[in-house]
């Protein structure tokens, strides 16, 4: 058995009587990138915070980097980096001042050198005296990643790091994450982007605080057992409402201009699509991760999402 970076069992968290996370088990080997997926309010952030000691679990136990998440939160904080969902560095400090503050808090040796190196690698050398509040979203995110990795953590917890960041910046960000994992860093990243999920070694899908699916992307798609037909053509927009809710059809969703109709029984699905065969160009395709997620969310029951 490989050594686990995160090994937690039965994690639960409730806020004033409302269960937000229930019975989450995660054993994550060192050196991998895991994606944490699920709708808003599914308990991703809460779980991450329990793992790094920012929240106290209501029930459950486990270790992070070999330290007890309940008793040794301080040790965990020293060895891990947590990038918050919302930019949480000091907007009224300059880029350099923020990095210096972090470097001092972690007691880094050769502080000036480390800060200078980080600035150079970031490409913020010439803007080091700019206040963080003035940086664009993409730069803020890069700065945050640089700041939480400055102390060479063994584990990175990234909470929706790429929300609101442009596609190129997202790609650069993920290249950086893969570079870090090649150096042996373990990364747990929560995201809403399918392309990001597909870059993870494994994904954990959470809804209403419960783990609904886990494994590699292919595993998760296979476990779900969906059969998907893709319809293309000028009239597909009108078909969606007609198909929704029919027996044997789990869900109908647009992917670009195409319509994906998914179900579990191929014959039933074909039968339902029968009357519409002429209206579009139908073709059975391998279900995508997004089809799977739409299905998982549907299975989890009514949409109890909380936004914010």
């Amino acid at each position: 058995m490989t050594e686990c970076a995160i090994d937690v069992k039965g994690l639960c968290k409730s806020f004033s009587g409302r269960q937000v996370v229930s019975n989450v088990d995660i054993s994550m080997p060192k050196g991998e990138v895991w994606g944490f997926l699920g709708p808003n309010g599914s308990g991703k952030t809460t779980t991450i915070r329990m793992i790094c000691g920012l929240l106290e679990a209501s029930a459950g136990e486990g270790t992070c980097l070999g330290y007890d998440i309940r008793k040794e939160a301080r040790k965990i904080k020293e060895l891990s980096g947590y990038m918050t969902q919302h930019f949480s560095f000091w907007q009224d400090l300059s880029v350099r001042e923020n990095l210096q503050f972090v470097a001092r808090l972690y007691n880094l040796s050769a502080r000036q050198k480390v800060v200078q190196k980080t600035l150079d690698e970031l490409g913020l050398g010439d803007r080091q005296d700019q206040l963080c509040g003035k940086l664009s979203g993409g730069w803020k995110q890069r700065l945050a990643l640089a700041a939480v990795t400055m102390h060479k953590p063994q584990l990175l917890l990234l909470d929706e790091p790429t929300a609101g960041v442009d596609p190129q910046a997202r790609r650069d960000f993920w290249d950086e994450i893969h570079r870090l994992t090649n150096e042996g860093v373990t990364v747990l990243v929560s995201t809403h982007y399918m392309d990001e999920a597909e870059r993870c070694d494994q994904i954990v899908y959470l809804a209403h605080g419960k783990v609904l699916a886990r494994g590699t992307v292919d595993d998760v798609i296979a476990q779900c057992g969906l059969i998907t037909f893709q319809g293309k053509g000028e009239n597909v927009r009108r078909l969606a409402d007609a198909l929704k809710g029919r027996d044997g059809i789990e869900h109908v969703a647009y992917f670009g201009t195409a319509l994906h109709v998914s179900g579990r029984d191929r014959d039933k699905l074909k039968c339902q699509l029968g009357p519409f065969m002429d209206e579009a160009d139908w073709q059975e395709i391998a279900p995508s991760l997004e089809d799977t997620f739409i299905d998982l969310m549907k299975q989890a029951g009514v949409d109890k999402r909380e936004h914010g």
């Binding site: 915070r49 790094c52 920012l54 929240l55 918050t84 919302h86 930019f87 000091w90 808090l105």
Partner: protein
């Protein structure tokens, strides 16, 4: 629905939203409703511009019926309360210096004999005039008390014609502020008030600002301990407080000509302890308040009694006992005794050690509370 109608509807929309938000913010709502009532009752009963029952030390070298009669007349006036019996004139002056008594009455030997011989014996009153307002009413009544007491005592052969001057020479020594200059009392007091105001307010924002701007999550994710946070947050403001102190002391000296009899080193150590006490309190507020707005409200909630019940604006001894006990809990009360004692009375540490002790206890209690209240997690 154009014009005025639509405009009124928009006003109504905003008004409803304000009311809903007001109701959501429990603390502000409670402050707005409960605070005025509490303050009205508290300050309405506590503040008294005509302090009575002022503690007085008595040293009588000539214990006679007449003296006893005059002493009891002092007591019956309601202004003087003989709380201490001095062993010597020096002891009486010491009690006054320590602030244990507001007056020291000294009746020298041979008072009665001289009175009988119509030699105008002296009746000495030493008054602590650091706060001119506190002592003035009692002082003003002293002569009346003595002459009316004598009127009943000096009968028959001892009686004097009505027109003659007072048979006793009343000597009143207004110590520490002989001219009764208000600034002497107020300016050192202002040092305490200004330090309270700024120190508590600035630090009460310390943690709430972090959580309001979303930095707290980051701060807690990094390895910091509560006491490290507290010391780190407080120390810069000690310097701010010291700069303020320097400015106020210079102004006291050169603008207001307030005398300075005591030791500057002692005063500075008092200022240090006092600043730390206020910063600790502010930090504690910031661990309790949910927003900067609430922190501000808590500061004001604390600031008002500090001004009114500490003896800064109104004589401390004029307040009823319960209000005095409440006042003893405020750091400003003790600091006022320290700063006035050191500047105006030239008090030394031996006079003031209890005030220092009170401030240190305050720091320990409040600092402990802050560390217990400090959020280690986001729960």
């Amino acid at each position: 629905m154009n014009g005025i109608g639509a405009s009124l509807l928009r006003v109504y929309a905003i008004l409803v939203k304000e009311l809903v938000q007001m109701r959501r913010d429990r603390m502000t709502f409670a402050m707005m409703l409960a605070l005025p009532i509490v303050q009205l009752v508290l300050f309405g009963y506590a503040i008294n511009m005509d302090p009575r029952h002022l503690p007085t030390a008595l040293y009588v070298e000539d214990d006679s019926a007449v003296v006893r009669r005059i002493v009891s007349a002092f007591e019956q006036s309601g202004y003087y309360e003989f709380s201490h019996r001095a062993d010597s004139p020096a002891h009486g002056s010491k009690l006054l210096a320590e602030g244990k008594v507001a007056f020291f009455i000294y009746v020298p030997a041979g008072f009665t004999a001289k009175l009988v011989r119509n030699e105008r014996p002296q009746w000495l009153i030493e008054a602590d005039a650091t706060d001119p307002a506190a002592a003035s009413n009692a002082i003003a009544r002293a002569e009346g008390i003595i002459s009316s007491a004598l009127r009943t005592e000096l009968k028959g052969p001892l009686s004097r014609p009505k027109s003659s001057e007072m048979p006793v020479e009343l000597i009143i020594q207004r110590k520490y502020n002989p001219q009764g200059i208000t600034q002497y009392n107020i300016v050192p007091g202002l040092l305490g008030v200004i330090l309270t105001m700024t120190c508590v307010m600035i630090t009460s924002m310390a943690m709430t600002r972090e959580s309001e701007r979303g930095n707290l999550e980051n701060l807690l994710a990094m390895p910091t301990r509560p006491h490290e946070m507290m010391i780190g947050k407080i120390t810069p403001y000690i310097l701010v407080g010291l700069v303020q102190t320097a400015v106020i002391l210079l102004a006291a000296r050169y603008l207001f000509q307030v005398p300075f009899f005591g030791s500057l080193a002692l005063l500075m150590s008092a200022v240090m302890v006092f600043i730390i006490a206020n910063l600790c309190l502010g930090f504690t507020f910031s661990t309790i308040a949910a927003s900067q707005m609430q922190a501000m409200q808590m500061t004001f909630f604390f600031f008002l009694p500090s001004i009114l019940l500490s003896g800064f604006m109104f004589p401390f001894r004029g307040m009823p006992i319960w209000a005095q006990q409440l006042g003893e809990l405020l750091p400003l009360t003790h600091f006022l005794r320290l700063v006035r004692g050191i500047m105006l009375k030239g008090n030394t540490f031996s006079h003031l050690h209890l005030e220092f002790l009170a401030l240190v206890l305050f720091i320990l209690a409040v600092g402990l509370l802050a560390i217990l209240r400090y959020r280690r997690t986001l729960d």
